[in-house]
């Protein structure tokens, strides 16, 4: 391939991506690219109604279609005890509806046909009679006494309540609020949005009846968890289930849950004895798979007149849709929302989250949210801006007065999280200098005088990522740790197998760089294997920015195991004591005689050769490890955004966006920058455009990309990024993870900028998405109701 000829680093640094070679040639291998002999195609019939009793399903006309092989309904699954499956939140979810449908787009029947067009045609031939029921789509109304009970399938469930969860100290917080000089309250909605990865969800199931083996190619971010789930749900022996997550066209949390379509493909293959592929279309993706957010929040912030922030209190109604199918650690039904304490030194904090069912698609934890840190950061950063407005203090200045100081780390926040490391004021000052904060404020004053609407928005976020520790964090009882296996072949080439999986993050490059950094083996000599349960060690998968904090640590540690063993082998090769050897990247040498040494490649050959190894040292150079993180990591950043709003059309334009991120040690700055850019674009989408809304009857109003608007190249500015480096003290290489920082941190910066721009109109807050019609309403002094 013709490229520029800079030497790639052996270790950390800008390294062009290994995986590009196949993608730029159109040779990626996504689920829908895989064809098997005799393969059939599945399609799902979905409910047109949000809440209705199923009176009857008649598939006879569909079965008469010459190309239809089978039609599976909930009744058929019921006979196998498969009509319902457990969710990752210990709730149940209908695979195919039996009694009722509970949201528009719910799975009702599965058609299997000879080709994808015929499968779709046959959906039209299934006759379903529904008896409509009252609908509840507004989370605020879900617990009303007259609200229809959605989950009457659950014994003892007499309302739409799922859980109550609290964090912090309610009484201590009340005491601080009682003596505070200033209290600001704000209702806000983090609206329902959708990750909408470019590749929709799908699966190809191949069940071998003779050997009882199931191979499932699936759009999953967590292949090992899925394998265990299939073993638990379908009673399939786990050692005969192989889940392969091939190239994945974006995940963003949308591909963590087990979806009914996957289970239908598996059942379809078992029933027909042939491979069955199911790929959802875009509307199915938007209307039925894991959405994000939908948090109805009431925030309160207490402070002194001088701007000292004292306490924050939040009440949340969390809309989980018709089934509680969120994926987050079991003990945390609201994810890590309790990190709403943000980046500030508070005296007290308390939150209460109430989860409710509504007649909407299930989900909630997705779209690069770091288990609800997105909602937490939005809440606290909007509250701080509201306080700044109330006190008449510049929002950047107010933050500088309250940010945690570097010497306060490790810092135990009032809801129990222990922030590992940080230098917050440096990051914020850097962002302010980069964007020219003072000059911008002066420009804003001039423009305001001319009647122009310009806004400057600041946000400072603290993320918490890299779940576990496993003693506190599990999914379906599976502790949140991850594995890495490294083998050095005799010729010094290496293979690294990871339990995490990539959806575009570039693991094949960055994880090879970690090995290169530790062992001095060039990246080109390291093959990274991932996404196949048969070839990789067990682990919980890639979401919540886990890969670098957890599997990255595992990779460094397994490489160090190899290095420790290599020292013993080198000592045998060189006939010196291991203690007399010194390591420099790529080789051991005898202390005092650098010419006498052995490279890692020579050691690998010796490990497989005939040299007499020290007592207790086995031949070969292979190791495996599973990493149980002692704590989460806490990336942080300072974001500043400039917006201009057209006073005539109310259209918001993001003019500039400066992002200063700190993800600890930086493995590959090019990939980090790319991750930040992507997250910032998500932020523009959520702040300005993206929403999944419903009408009163539960019809999804944003079920296609005609209605669900995603930023294009014209809606986003040329991003300006910079960084600081504060390594995590407990991570083997000091890395913190970056995948979700920008998605978490950018929406409040943009909304803060918009509210700042609209201050002359008396606007103190408006809910996302800040699209022209809603901004216009806000400018007229009648903010549009939440969508």
């Amino acid at each position: 391939m013709a490229t520029t000829t800079e030497q790639p680093p052996v270790g950390f640094g800008r390294h062009k991506r290994v995986e590009d070679a196949r993608f730029i040639r159109g040779q990626g291998r996504y689920v829908d690219d895989i064809k098997l002999p005799g393969m059939l195609h599945g399609a799902i019939l979905r409910s047109p109604l949000a809440h209705a009793r199923i009176v009857s399903i008649d598939s006879s006309r569909a079965l008469a279609h010459p190309k239809v092989v089978a039609v599976i309904t909930g009744r058929d699954l019921e006979a196998q005890n498969l009509a319902w499956m457990p969710t990752l939140s210990y709730d149940t979810q209908a695979v195919l509806a039996t009694d009722k449908v509970r949201f528009q787009g719910q799975e009702v029947a599965f058609v299997i046909a000879e080709d994808r067009y015929a499968a779709r045609d046959a959906l039209e031939l299934i006759d379903v009679e529904y008896d409509p029921l009252p609908v509840v789509v507004n989370a605020r109304r879900a617990l009303d006494p007259d609200a229809p009970v959605i989950r009457d399938d659950k014994e003892g469930q007499t309302d739409n309540h799922i859980f109550d969860w609290e964090s912090g100290d309610a009484q201590a917080t009340e005491e601080v609020f009682a003596r505070a000089e200033v209290v600001v309250e704000q209702d806000m909605l983090y609206p329902r949005s959708h990750p909408a990865p470019m590749e929709t969800c799908g699966a190809l199931a191949d069940y071998d009846r003779v050997n009882g083996r199931l191979t499932l190619w699936c759009t999953t971010q967590a292949p090992h968890v899925h394998r265990t789930a299939y073993a638990l749900v379908a009673g399939l022996p786990e050692h005969r289930v192989r889940v392969i997550s091939p190239d994945i066209g974006g995940g963003f949390g949308n591909k963590v849950p087990v979806y009914p379509g996957y289970v239908c493909a598996v059942v379809g293959s078992i029933v027909t004895g042939r491979p069955v592929k199911w790929m959802e279309d875009r509307s199915e993706n938007l209307m039925s798979t894991g959405f994000a957010r939908d948090y109805v929040m009431h925030g309160e912030i207490a402070a002194n007149r001088d701007g000292r922030i004292l306490a924050i209190r939040v009440n949340v109604i969390a809309d989980h849709g018709a089934f509680n199918a969120t994926a987050q650690p079991t003990k945390y039904p609201a994810g890590f929302f309790s990190v709403f304490t943000g980046s500030y030194d508070l005296e007290a904090a308390h939150c209460k989250v109430t989860g409710v069912y509504t007649n909407k698609a299930p989900g909630g934890v997705a779209y690069a949210c770091s288990f609800r840190v997105t909602e937490a950061v939005y809440l606290v950063e909007r509250m701080v801006d509201r306080l700044a407005g109330e006190l008449g203090i510049d929002p950047a200045e107010l933050r500088l007065r309250n940010l945690l100081a570097p010497e306060q780390f490790p810092y135990a926040c009032k809801t129990g999280w222990v922030y590992d490391s940080g230098d917050y004021p440096t990051a914020l000052r850097k962002a302010m200098a980069l964007i020219g904060y003072e000059q911008l404020r002066a420009e804003q004053a001039e423009r305001r005088a001319r009647g122009e609407l310009m806004g400057i928005g600041v946000s400072f976020f603290t993320e918490c990522v890299g779940a576990g520790p496993r003693r506190h964090m599990d999914i379906l009882g599976l502790g949140m740790s991850d594995g890495a296996a490294l083998r050095i072949h005799p010729t010094g080439k290496a293979q690294l197998a990871l339990s995490v999986q990539t959806q575009g993050q570039g693991h094949e490059t960055t994880f090879a760089q970690i090995v290169a950094e530790e062992l001095g083996i060039p990246v080109a000599d390291i093959e990274v294997v991932h996404g196949d349960t048969e070839l990789t060690p067990y682990g919980l998968g890639t979401y919540g920015s886990r890969s670098t904090p957890v599997s990255g640590a595992a990779t460094a540690l397994v490489a160090r195991k190899i290095r420790d063993k290599a020292r013993l082998i080198a000592s045998a090769m060189l006939e010196v004591s291991p203690d007399d050897l010194e390591w420099e990247k790529g080789r051991f040498f005898v202390k005092g005689d650098p010419t006498m040494g052995a490279s890692i490649q020579e050691i690998a050959m010796a490990a497989h050769g005939t040299v007499t190894l020290p007592e207790g040292v086995e031949p070969a150079l292979e190791a495996e490890t599973t990493y149980d993180p002692p704590n989460l990591t806490f990336p942080f950043g300072a974001y500043i955004c400039v917006v201009d709003i057209d006073p005539q059309t109310a259209k918001v334009r993001v003019r500039r966006f400066v992002a200063v991120d700190d993800c600890g040690t930086r493995i590959n700055p090019m990939i980090i920058e790319g991750q930040v850019h992507g997250g910032l674009t998500d932020g523009v989408g959520m702040a300005l455009m993206e929403v999944i809304a419903f009408d009163e009857e539960g019809n999804c109003l944003n079920g296609s990309l005609m209605d669900y608007l995603i930023p294009t190249a014209l809606e986003v500015p040329d991003w300006e990024t910079d960084y600081t480096v504060t390594p995590s003290p407990h991570h083997p290489i000091g890395a913190k993870g970056i995948g979700e920082s920008a998605t978490v941190g950018s929406p409040p910066a943009i909304v803060n900028a918009i509210c700042d721009a609209l201050a002359p109109h008396g606007v103190r807050h408006m809910d996302m998405p800040c699209n022209p019609s809603r901004v216009w309403e806000a400018m007229q002094g009648r903010p549009a109701p939440p969508q």
């Binding site: 520029t4 470019m198 991750q675």
Partner: protein, 162 residues
């Protein structure tokens, strides 16, 4: 019905249903899976191919309509083992992450550079504005296409294996 479509310089004749979309013709009949499918509404652009050198969304073109036209897919960008400068640019400038939108983006870029060898950043953004990328935030795609514009003389590039 029988159609003959010229894809990447080769005529392919197939018996197809009249309603077959070009994207499925390419993927299912010709096994050219580099052309992706991402929405039903012509919004996402992962299915973009060139039809007589113009970008089209192959999810809204019937295979029958493409008969008699020249179709270029991502698999046709590399010539005689030499990557198109656009492909090189995406690799050099990190213009891709998950890779799903990449083929469509690169083909639009090729068409842009063919008619405007030295586009401004604004012209590049305009050209790709009918396509969605969820990973990159577009800035690196813009850089990639600019790189390709600046390295259009492929003979000046040096051969390095990737």
């Amino acid at each position: 019905m029988q159609v003959t479509v010229n894809v990447n310089g080769v005529d392919h004749t197939r018996e197809i249903e009249p309603r077959l979309l070009l994207v499925h013709f390419l993927r299912d009949e010709l096994d050219l899976t580099g052309t992706h499918w991402g929405c039903d509404t012509s919004n996402c652009g992962t299915c973009v191919v060139l039809m007589d050198s113009e970008p089209v969304k192959s999810c809204t073109v019937l295979a029958a309509t493409a008969a008699g036209h020249r179709i270029t897919t991502v698999e046709g960008l590399e010539r005689d083992g030499q990557l198109d400068p656009v492909q090189q640019g995406f690799h050099e400038c990190h213009g891709l992450q998950c890779g799903f939108c990449t083929p469509g983006m690169m083909l639009t870029a090729r068409a842009l550079l063919d008619r405007n060898p030295n586009p401004t950043d604004e012209e590049i953004r305009e050209a790709i504005s009918g396509q969605i990328c969820r990973c990159t935030g577009y800035a690196t795609i813009v850089r990639s296409i600019r790189w390709a514009a600046e390295h259009s003389d492929s003979s000046s590039a040096q051969e390095v294996s990737v």
